[in-house]
Every structure is written in C-alpha cells, then in structure tokens.
Amino acid sequence: MAGANEPVEGAGAGEQPVVMMDYFMHLEYHEVVCPIVRRYAASLMEGKILGQFSPKSGLVYVPPRSYCPVSCEWLGEDNLIELEDRGVITAFTIVTPVQYYGQEETEPFAKASVLLDGPGGMLSLQDILEIPPDEVRIGMKVEAVWLPESERNTDEIGNRSWGSAAGAIVGWRPTGEPDLPAETFTDKVY
C-alpha cells in the first residue's frame, strides 16, 4: 500500500491525483464466559474433561454448550458427564507456518481431531506430541499430556474456543496401541 497522500499515477480520472490513505482499525471485545463453559474450565483445572450428553441424539459435546443443535434439546447440569482423556485421531492437518505477523511457529506441525474413548466427545485442533507431523495417522490411539496442576490456567478458554483444552492439556501423545481402522471415522472428519 502506498503511504498516506502519495499520488498513484495513472489511476485517476481528471486533473485531481488519486491519493491513498492508511486507516488502521482497532476493535476490542470483552465477553463474559457463559456458565457452562466456566464449569468446563473449572473441571480442566482439576484434570477432568467435562462434556454434555444429549439423550435424544446420542451425541456428546465437549466443551459442553447447553444445547444439542441436532435434537434441538436444551442440556443442563443433569447432562454433564466426565469424559476419558484418551482417544483416537479421526482427522488431522499439517500446517506449514507462513511467517505472518504474530506467527511463532517455524516448523511444520500437526493439528488433529481427537475422538475420546468411552462415551465420546470430539476435541478439535489438538497438538500431537512426541512424533514428527508426517507420522500422524487417522486411527492412531493417543492420550492427553496434562500440564502439572500448578501450571494450569484457563486463560484461553472462552465461549468461542469450542474444542479447546488449552492451558490444561498440552497436547496428545501416541499410546503405542494398534491403530483403529481409519474407515471407521469417515463421518468424524471435522
């Protein structure tokens, strides 16, 4: 972009030169974390992953969200369940970082969707640890790597961080168990 008031040649009609201007915009938002996500954040501090089960659709939401969009059912405290901190990778992407402003990563890394064992629940955009990104596979069994209790925080948990356990779970490492068949998860690629 040209600097402020710098004429751009050949772009205008008539005798007035066309000038460019910079306009920097700054918007700030402060949002109250909703009650059910506050409850989820508190459970992470205790080393537990809390989800919500919809009896009508059979789906599990993590973090809990107070409703099931599929069955259109309001979910309350009674629908809260504690989830497993082990699961299976159902989808992943390898990110090759572009060095835009604010990018702290320099090497390729994997972000994966982890379907939790037992009743279920899906955590998305999870870091996969201890193996290079090109070894991440759909069907790979993983377990959560928790931060020590004293180092946990809920700074990054908000209404918009659906699927995040940041501040409590560093990432997920392979358990070494045999893979589950990838085709099992064709409907869980989100």
């Binding site: 201007m21 306009y23 109250v32 909703c34 259109c72």
Partner: protein, 352 residues
C-alpha cells in the same frame, strides 16, 4: 399478494450484558415461537435470520446461530446482515411463492462484548465518515439539532417521549429500562452529546426475537387469532447523511404508502424510535395523528436488542392486536444511520 399471517412470536429479555452466548439465548426464543405457533419444527419451510457478525466480533457467527433453529437434516435458510425485520420481509416473499406454508424469521444480537460507538462507524462511508468516527449517537445528534432548529420539536418534547416510553415499559418483561420519571428532572441532566441527553439515547441490549408466519389456510388451521400482514414495504435513502434532509424521512413515507398505512385507521404504532426526536420524524412521515398510541411497549428507548429491535416492533404490534389493544397496527424497523433505510408493516387482527 397472498394473505400471510403471523401465527407465533417470542422475545428474549433485553439484557445489558447477557451471561449466555447468542446461540444460547436464541435457543429458547426459537423454541417458544414454535410452541406459540402450534407447529412442529419440521413444518418450517424456510428460515431467515438477521444478525451482525461485527457485534459479536466473530466471523460466521450467523452460521452458529442456526444451531438454535435445528438445521439437521438440512433446512432451507437464508441470512441478512440486517435487523430481523428484513429477515421477516425475505421470509414473507418466500411465502408469496406459494410452495411453502410456514416460515420462521428471527433477529438476534449481542452488543455487550464490543463498543457500538466504534463498531457502527464501520458501516458508514469508509473514506470520510468511518475515520471521523461517525457513531450513531453523533449522527442522531446532528439530526436532532436540525429538527430543533426547524422549530418542529423542543428538548422538552424529546424528554416527554423518553418519560412516556419508560412509563409504558413498566410491566413489559422484555424492557431493559422502565419507571416513572419527571420531565423536569430529565431536562436538568447534562448533555451526553448536545442536544442529546442520556434519556434521548437508547440502551444497547443483548437479545433476540423470532416470528413465525403462515399462509392463510395454514394460519387458520393452526392459530385461533392470526395477525394478518396487510402490507409490508421497505425503502432506502442515499448512504451519505450529508446529502439527505435529516429532518424528513421520505423512505419511511414511501414504505408507509407502499404498506398501505393510510388505507384505514391506525390504533397503535410500534416505531423504531431509538432517539427521542425520531418519533416526530417518523409519525410525520407516516401521517400518524394524535389518536395513535406510539410505542405502547416502551419502544427501543427502553429495550434495544440490536438486530432484533425492528422485528420486536412487529412482535409487540402483533401482541397488542392479540391482546385486543388494537385492531390495526403499524410496525416500523430501521437500518443504517440515522433512519437511512426503513421498513413499514401494517398488521390487522382476524376480522371474521
């Protein structure tokens, strides 16, 4: 035009700062409207939503709002980055096609996370007005000044609008501001931005409103007292406020004419009067005389859920008809600054 009726509606409270997310507080509003319409969710043939992603500061926030509707199996839906009243207009058009018989329109907004004085200038001309920070209150103040200078209103009359609205809002469960206030006491308060005092400005509310419409046969089948949409129209004026005579609202007048406001007596009018002086501009544009009760609900000066304020006018007018307070009512919604685009809807009770 095919006869279309409002068969159900619901509103959330107007919160200064909602604890729930927009989807969470929208959820019971949609469910209540469906229950009020005495239909099954799957009976809805078309859904249209009005909201503004800038308010929540989240791209595609309008998509997650659909979670409150139930969009699986897939539904036919649309969205306008406008007040829910325009979503209702689109849904009304869809019903005119005749291939569906029930439609849902809703509007929702959560203003509290951001600062509207910073967000709304972004909808203005990006070269001159946005960098100036042309916010709604400042533009409304320019409009009020022009009207005051013309001698058509006084600051006292503006305060009287505020006092009457707040008194009327007593007992309205959807209102954020209500109570008995003394006009002299209001006039003794300082200007926020001259000539606007705090009571001349609306609250910014978090909230939602949903309306369900049906074609004539369906409406009579499911609803004991449908509220008929006798006319609905919307018009827009030039974007640059400096090129308009801010004392008049020709787009409201044109929309009112198109909707047939003057074709019969009007008992009540629910108008999007977010700034006290705008009541005068709008009643003049619509030709509403002294016998018309304006904003019996309290209006936007007492409850202003952005993106749902206009649709709430329609819901409040429908409620007044169903309650027997009015036979024929006018509802008005506005978009842009100040009163740039206007929608007018004429509602009537069942005359059987």
């Amino acid at each position: 035009m095919n006869d279309i009726a409002i068969v159900g509606y619901a509103q959330s409270p107007s919160w200064e700062r909602a604890e729930l997310t927009e989807v969470q507080f929208l959820f019971p509003v949609i469910a209540d409207a469906i229950a009020a319409a005495n239909i099954d969710r799957r009976d809805i043939g078309f859904t249209c939503a009005g909201s503004c992603d800038y308010l929540s500061g989240q791209t595609f926030a309008f998509v997650s709002n659909l979670e409150a509707v139930g969009a699986w199996p897939p539904i036919s839906e649309s969205h306008v980055e406008m007040d829910g009243a325009w979503a209702m207009y689109e849904a009304w058009i869809a019903l005119q096609h005749g291939d569906i018989d029930v439609a849902l329109a809703f509007g929702s907004g959560k203003s509290s996370p951001g600062d509207p004085a910073h967000i709304y200038p972004l909808q203005m001309d990006p070269y001159t007005l946005t960098p100036l920070g042309a916010d709604p209150a400042s533009l409304a103040a320019l409009q009020a000044r022009a009207l005051l200078d013309s001698g058509r209103i006084t600051e006292r009359e503006m305060a009287e609008v505020a006092a009457r609205n707040r008194k009327d809002a007593i007992g309205n469960p959807h209102a954020q501001v209500s109570g008995e206030v003394d006009v002299d006491a209001l006039l003794a308060t300082p200007y926020v931005t001259a000539p606007m005092r705090a009571h001349d400005l609306p609250p910014y509310s978090d909230g939602a409103c949903a309306v369900i419409m049906a074609t004539a046969d369906k409406a009579r089948e499911i609803c004991e007292n449908p509220v008929w949409i006798r006319g609905i129209d919307h018009r827009i004026e030039i974007h640059q406020p400096g090129m308009r005579d801010l004392r008049e609202s020709p787009s409201t007048a044109a929309a009112g004419h198109g909707a047939g406001v003057g074709d019969g007596p009007v008992d009540i009018a629910e108008l999007s009067v977010a700034y006290t002086h705008q009541e005068k501009i709008l009643t003049d544009a619509l030709g509403l005389g002294d016998g018309v009760k304006i904003n019996p609900s309290g209006g936007p000066l007492t409850a202003n859920p952005m993106m749902a304020t206009g649709l709430s006018r329609i819901a409040e007018a429908a409620r007044a008809i169903q309650r027997g307070d009015a036979k024929r009512a006018v509802a008005h919604a506005t978009s842009g600054q100040p009163l740039q685009q206007n929608l007018v809807c004429v509602l009537e009770g069942d005359l059987r």
